[in-house]
């Protein structure tokens, strides 16, 4: 596992890997609401056929970014390029994007088929063509025979599918999804995640997906963009985001982690909690202050003499698949996820390999 040094490098790797056309480019995008700056210069390239997720806590600017791409908000500064053409001044009804809204926004006065046909009717398509397109869409989202149903009487999951069909039937270049699974219960959520990914592969267009749910982001996306406070924190593949968080925010927002301040003695050697550990990271200054991420599931409990870091089990919680154990050491309390049981009060050692250590720059150091 190598460390990707800067945001620019991360982008470079993706670009090489995908070798696809850039579809949307956000250039130094800013947005102010009254005196509050919600976007502080967003630079982002979005490619064809990409499933890209904007991930972050509420108020991080992810929805605003999506609404600017859709055309519902004007950026305060910067550019939105679509196929290389500036579109910030183009109204939403002339953009080649469609949106799946958070609460679906299905028209209550129209039935399922009429909702889906809304965009096609505006384009003055032949009724026969509209009918067959609507049928095909309903089939794709698994709602065959629902044409005449009242949308207000559908379940949340069904409304969601109608909303997706209504957007996709217009054959947009990009589908924007604003927390589309937020209102669904956990079981249907899981199922819809799977189906969304399937639909995306089927129609082969770009999906831009907004969510605050890290699991959703990691399981569906090609690219995850982690945002906080109106700034992009990291762009990368889900595995990169999880395994190689670039800073403390990403590490703590994506999954659980033990974050430890330390010093990079030299390439492949890091010091924290009073010991030196071999690691796989390089490219830092010698003796640079850094932070180390240790994922709870990467840590193992061993006999005290087998490990450098030793501590006492303070708490153990059964979580189903694994136990979550809190171990108090001289400097801090580590969180561990393991299938092994250890009784409270026992003295144990904490073991991890060089590849389990992820070194990153401390917050605000770049």
């Amino acid at each position: 596992m190598i460390l990707l040094f800067t945001k620019k490098h991360t982008q470079f790797f993706i670009r090489r890997e995908m070798e696809l056309n850039k579809l949307i480019e956000l250039k130094d995008l800013t947005k102010n609401f009254d005196d509050q700056q919600v976007l502080k210069g967003i630079n982002l390239d979005i490619y064809e056929n990409e499933f890209l997720t904007l991930l972050g806590p509420s108020g991080c600017g992810k929805t605003t970014t999506l609404r600017i791409i859709a055309g519902f908000e004007d950026p305060s500064g910067g550019q939105v390029l679509f196929n290389g053409i500036e579109i910030s001044k183009i109204p939403p009804y002339r953009r080649e994007v469609n949106t799946v809204f958070q609460k679906y926004a299905l028209f209550p006065h129209l039935n399922v088929a009429e909702n889906i046909a809304f965009g096609l009717k505006l384009k003055k398509m032949e009724p026969i063509i509209i009918k067959s397109k609507v049928e095909r869409m309903l089939k794709m989202v698994g709602l065959e025979g629902f044409e005449k149903r009242d949308v207000t009487l559908l379940s949340g999951g069904q409304q969601q599918r109608v909303a997706i069909a209504r957007a996709l039937v217009n054959e947009p270049k990009v589908l924007l999804l604003d927390e589309p699974l937020g209102a669904l219960d956990a079981r249907i959520r899981k199922q819809m995640q799977f189906e969304l990914k399937k639909i995306q592969r089927e129609v082969g267009i770009t999906f831009i997906y907004v969510t605050h749910d890290q699991e959703e982001a990691l399981s569906m996306s090609d690219t995850v963009v982690v945002m906080n406070n109106g700034e992009i924190q990291q762009i990368g593949k889900p595995t990169d985001i999880y395994n190689e968080p670039e800073n403390r925010f990403v590490a703590s927002f994506i999954g659980e982690s033990n974050i430890i301040e330390g010093i990079m003695i030299k390439d492949y050697l890091v010091e924290f909690d009073g010991f030196q550990f071999p690691c796989v990271d390089k490219g830092f200054e010698d003796n640079e202050k850094i932070e180390v991420v240790l994922r709870p599931e990467d840590l193992d409990i061993v006999e005290p003499e087998e490990a450098k870091i030793q501590g006492i089990v303070r708490n153990i919680t059964f979580k189903g698949v694994h136990y979550e154990i809190l171990i108090e050491t001289q400097f801090r309390t580590y969180k561990i996820q393991t299938t092994d049981y250890a009784e409270v009060g026992r003295k144990v050692g904490l073991k991890f390999g060089p590849e389990d250590i992820h070194v990153m720059y401390p917050m605000g150091a770049y």
Binding site: P92, R94, N98, T99, F101, F107, P108, F118, L122, K123
Partner: protein
């Protein structure tokens, strides 16, 4: 909540006393002859036959025409205003709605007398026109003055009921329509207008019903010769003293209004199914 049920009883008794019994009395009067003793009634359809005379039929036709016209004017003028108000920030909205209702704080009679002063042949407007060298225009005691009075009185009901349905409409419907390719005009007619129809119908009823049965405004602004169905009923009860004929006309008016409202509702339901 069950033990609160008995609290409704005083209201029930009150409603029976002031609504149901008078209605039954009107029905009784309408179907009986004039000059009955307290307990002996002679039933007749004469009152209804009398109404079929062209003089009276013309009155009801004129009333309906006026009522419909006033409603249409209120709708055409009120909808854009309600729409513009609903687009403002919340605190500005409540202020504007307050302004709309301000005239109704003043007694309706006073407002009507004010119009008389403004509109009369030597009233304020004609005096101003005179200063500009324009000959006085007769405005009082015409269809115009009656219509003006009705529209100004009833407009707030139209605006408020349309505004209510517009302001509680979810903005994401409009964004969804835009997103699917509808320009602002298409969005208005295909989404906003259709979703505001319940408010429009509400407003239509609130304006049409008082407009068709009003008698003070036509009397004051239309003059003694201006006969609408409300004036007809009033005169039968107050000056002519034929309560039986007055009751019959009231019943006919009520029936006509009920039928019309049913039709409007029907159109509304059909319109929605067609969409």
């Amino acid at each position: 909540m069950k033990h609160f049920r008995h609290l409704i009883k005083p209201y029930l008794i009150w409603s029976i006393l002031i609504i149901v019994i008078p209605l039954l009395l009107i029905g009784l009067y309408a179907f009986t002859e004039e000059g009955n003793a307290v307990l002996t009634f002679t039933f007749t359809l004469e009152n209804f036959r009398k109404f079929a005379e062209s003089t009276y039929l013309n009155v009801i036709i004129k009333s309906f025409r006026l009522g419909i016209l006033a409603t249409v004017i209120c709708l055409i003028a009120g909808y854009p205003l309600a729409y513009i108000i609903s687009k403002q920030a919340e605190d500005i909205q409540s202020f504007l709605i307050l302004l709309v209702t301000v005239p109704s704080w003043i007694n309706m009679l006073l407002r009507t007398y004010a119009w008389m002063n403004l509109l009369s042949d030597n009233g304020i407007i004609n005096n101003l026109l005179g200063l500009l060298g324009i000959d006085p225009i007769t405005m009082m005691y015409t269809d115009f003055s009656v219509m003006l009075g009705l529209v100004c009185n009833l407009m707030p009901f139209m605006i408020i009921s349309i505004h209510t349905s517009l302001s509680k409409m979810d903005h994401s419907y409009i964004e969804a329509a835009n997103d699917l390719g509808a320009n602002p005009v298409q969005t208005f007619w295909k989404v906003t207008w259709v979703l505001s129809l319940p408010g429009v119908l509400n407003g239509v009823m609130l304006v049409f019903l008082p407009a068709i049965s009003s008698f003070v405004i036509p009397k004051l602004l239309g003059g003694g010769q201006y006969m609408l169905i409300g004036n007809l009923i009033e005169s039968q009860f107050i000056s002519v003293g034929n309560w039986n004929f007055g009751s019959a006309i009231s019943l006919i008016l009520a029936a006509a209004i009920l039928i019309l409202m049913r039709l409007v509702k029907r159109i509304d339901v059909m319109g929605r199914q067609e969409e």
